[in-house]
């Protein structure tokens, strides 16, 4: 009897295991059936509006700011209400996991239909072959060059710029006044002003210096300002930029803790009154205005060496190849239309990558106007599939210099060797 029970239990256990697999295949089947049914209904009825595009479109995005998420939800809701064939859904993936999810998705063929991603990563994923070729499907002739270049690989367009932003110097007006200082315009002035503003509780200056893309983005503004490119770290300009951050940190003008600060952390320190000046981007303005309405601050061009320079940031839309491409493109056409794009850009505090839209944006708001103006001096990172490697070498270099682990010259030489290796020099 006991043995019978044993056999029974064992069989049931094995059976449930098999049943587990079985049920999965059956759901897959129903999905297949459903899609084929909807395809049929389209071909027979042909609602016309979207040339037969229909079904579900899933979007992945990484904005953690509540205002950004609400804006996207609003855009999607408007689109879903405007027609019946396509249903768009958005899924939030944290920034830290975004690349991982996209890579895993690419190897497992489980990708969404549309992604909104950080523009320096665009080339790498385009090279991976997961993005649909949108050449001739979108007119980007009125767009700024920088954002369009970031979506382009080997002359083909693999995405559409979503929105752009750049970096400027933010300063606390009261703190500068208390220290009796003007807004700095050169590196020397920045150093002096930052030192003058530093007290027990307040650091004079900081920018996110994490050993990742965020840190590289901020640090490169110094390199570009010397006239060197991101690929020339072991040049006069590159070494000069590294020496500059070293002096900022060594003299106490810049807090070393910025090594562990994201751009969001930096902004929080600034609005909490712990920071007199910082480098930060367009996207922080809505949060700063709502979180610290009484704080008196303003923006100015980043103090420069030989030329004015800023970093170009922002996101791009990319359609996943092999997904629900037609429907995703229809949504994209809707989202990039003037009315919708303007709504998104204004709500999120972004600058439209379409110059015809950007020029009419933010009239009468001097802070935003300063950012629109700075777009002319904003340099793009990449586009290069190997950009993450190069970015890593650069961020290692300035981290080595800031922590004192290595001299600017040695760090620059090491970074250059890595960069040259990647570029195949």
């Amino acid at each position: 009897m006991k043995r019978l029970w044993a056999i029974l239990i064992a069989t049931v256990m094995v059976a449930t295991l098999l049943a587990g697999c079985g049920s999965k295949t059956s759901t897959e089947k129903t999905i297949e059936e459903k899609t084929s049914v909807s395809e049929n209904s389209d071909s027979t009825e042909d609602k016309g509006a979207f040339n037969g595009a229909s079904g579900k479109v899933t979007i992945w995005y990484y904005w953690e700011t509540e205002g950004h998420q609400k804006a996207l939800d609003h855009l999607i809701q408007t689109f879903n209400d405007s027609q019946e064939d396509i249903t768009v859904e958005a899924k939030y993936v944290p920034f830290a996991d975004f690349k991982k999810q996209l890579s895993i998705g690419a190897s497992a063929d489980e990708l969404p239909d549309l992604v909104i991603l950080d523009n320096p990563d665009h080339a790498a994923y385009a090279a991976m072959g997961i993005f649909a070729d949108l050449t001739d499907k979108f007119d980007v002739s009125t767009y700024y060059d920088g954002p369009v270049n970031s979506c382009t690989l080997d002359g083909r367009l693999y995405g559409v710029p979503f929105g752009s932003n750049c970096l400027l110097l933010f300063y606390n007006e009261d703190m500068l006044k208390a220290a009796g200082r003007e807004v700095p315009t050169t590196w020397d002035e920045l150093l002096e002003t930052a030192k003058a503003c530093t007290t027990d509780k307040v650091s004079g200056f900081a920018h996110s210096s994490l050993q990742n893309e965020e840190g590289t983005f901020n640090f490169l503004t110094w390199v570009w300002s010397t006239g060197a490119t991101a690929y020339e770290i072991n040049s006069e300009g590159g070494i000069k930029a590294l020496k500059m951050v070293k002096e900022l940190v060594d003299s106490g003008a810049m807090t070393k803790e910025a090594i562990n600060w994201t751009q969001g952390d930096t902004m929080n320190q600034f609005i909490s009154g712990n920071l007199a000046m910082m480098l930060n981007g367009t996207w922080q303005i809505p949060t700063m205005r709502s979180e610290a309405p009484d704080l008196k601050w303003n923006v100015a061009p980043i103090p420069m060496d030989v030329q004015q320079a800023s970093g170009l940031g922002g996101e791009n839309y990319a359609v996943i190849a092999g997904g629900n491409e037609e429907a995703a493109i229809e949504f994209l056409k809707f989202a990039t239309s003037k009315e919708q794009s303007l709504y998104m850009m204004n709500t999120m505090g972004y600058i439209s990558p379409d110059s015809t839209i950007a020029e009419g944006q933010f009239k009468g708001d001097p802070v935003y106007e300063a950012f629109v103006e700075e777009m002319k001096y904003a340099y793009a990172r990449g586009p290069l599939p190997e950009w993450p490697d190069i970015s890593d070498a650069i961020s290692l270099a300035f981290n080595e210099v800031m922590t004192g682990a290595s001299t600017p010259e040695d760090a620059a030489a090491k970074a250059q060797a890595t960069i040259d290796g990647i570029l195949g020099k």
Binding site: A10, M13, S103, E257, N260, P388, N399
Partner: protein, 300 residues
């Protein structure tokens, strides 16, 4: 009929019992390990991920990792330092607390329960709390050290290549103490009180009783705690990622964070897999050691 009966004889039924677990292990444990090994011998980067045929390059990933940069050697060394330092302190403090709570005194049970807290808190949260406490300008640790006059200037714990590792180790010791304490405390309850009684009649002091009764009788427990602790600590990831992300300048880069960085930040999937395999092989041999102890114990 007899054949079927024979099939379900005592021994064979055992196989049926094992089968579900065996299949589960093959699919969810065996396959990823084998896949990871294959991946580490191929050249899979951002450009080749979606290609059907991936180039087989033998040990080149491993050779390049060891030759080209010293980050791998550094991560190996960091992981080892981290593990040994954590285990030594966790074990000693955990042992002391276990001995303390083995004595009956009022509130010993609720206090012991409270000491389990660090083990219960999600590691990400612990990491964030310690990151805040170790902050240079606003951290409570610098505040205390300064008010007691131990330091005159703030120490930049997590942004200094020398102090970052000790800070992360400190946080992990705090997390690991309850694990050591509870296992050793359980071991202590298995030692009969009579042995101590007869020893004290024979004139043995407390210290003698500890070294000659407690330690030898606890040997199996101690071995398990140390080996399990080694395995848990060696594969640390979340704490380091939250507190320092491996920085500054790779000062706290351990094998797991380095593997993650290679795979998902730099898109070098095969190299990331190779680092993960090095981690796996080391833990595999430690696990074998553990199994050996468990078997000899059961036989004895």
């Amino acid at each position: 009929m007899t054949k079927i009966k024979k099939m379900f004889k005592y021994d064979n039924v055992g196989i049926l019992f094992v089968l579900p677990a065996f299949l589960y292990m093959i699919v969810f444990v065996g396959y990823p390990i084998i896949y990871n090994f294959i991946l580490s011998f191929q050249d899979v980067t951002v450009k080749t991920l979606r290609k059907d045929i991936k180039e087989f390059i033998g040990f080149r990933n491993y050779i390049e990792l060891f030759q080209q940069d010293n980050v791998l050697t550094l991560s190996l060394w960091n992981t080892l330092v981290f593990t040994v330092a954590c285990i030594v302190f966790q074990f000693i403090i955990g042992f002391a607390l276990a001995l303390l709570f083995n004595k009956k005194f009022s509130f010993s049970k609720p206090v012991r329960g409270l000491l389990m807290m660090p083990w219960m808190i999600p590691i990400t949260i612990t990491g964030l709390i310690f990151k805040f406490m170790f902050s240079t300008d606003v951290g409570i640790i610098n505040y205390f050290l300064r008010s007691f006059g131990i330091i005159s200037e703030n120490i930049d714990w997590l942004t200094n290549t020398v102090t970052a590792m000790p800070a992360v180790i400190f946080a992990n010791i705090w997390i690991g103490i309850p694990f050591n304490m509870i296992l050793i405390a359980t071991g202590l309850t298995t030692i009969p009180a009579e042995i101590y009684e007869s020893a004290s009649i024979d004139g043995a002091g407390k210290i003698q009783a500890f070294w000659n009764i407690t330690v030898p009788l606890l040997r199996p427990t101690i071995e398990s705690v140390l080996i399990l602790g080694f395995i848990y600590t060696f594969k640390v990831y979340d704490l380091v990622y939250v507190m320092t992300s491996g920085g500054p300048v790779n000062a706290t880069q351990v094998l797991s964070t380095y593997s993650y960085k290679l795979s998902f930040e730099m898109f070098k999937y095969s190299k990331g897999a190779a680092v993960a395999n090095i981690l796996f092989i080391i833990l595999f041999f430690v696990s074998l050691l553990y199994l050996k102890y468990v078997y000899t114990e059961e036989e004895a």
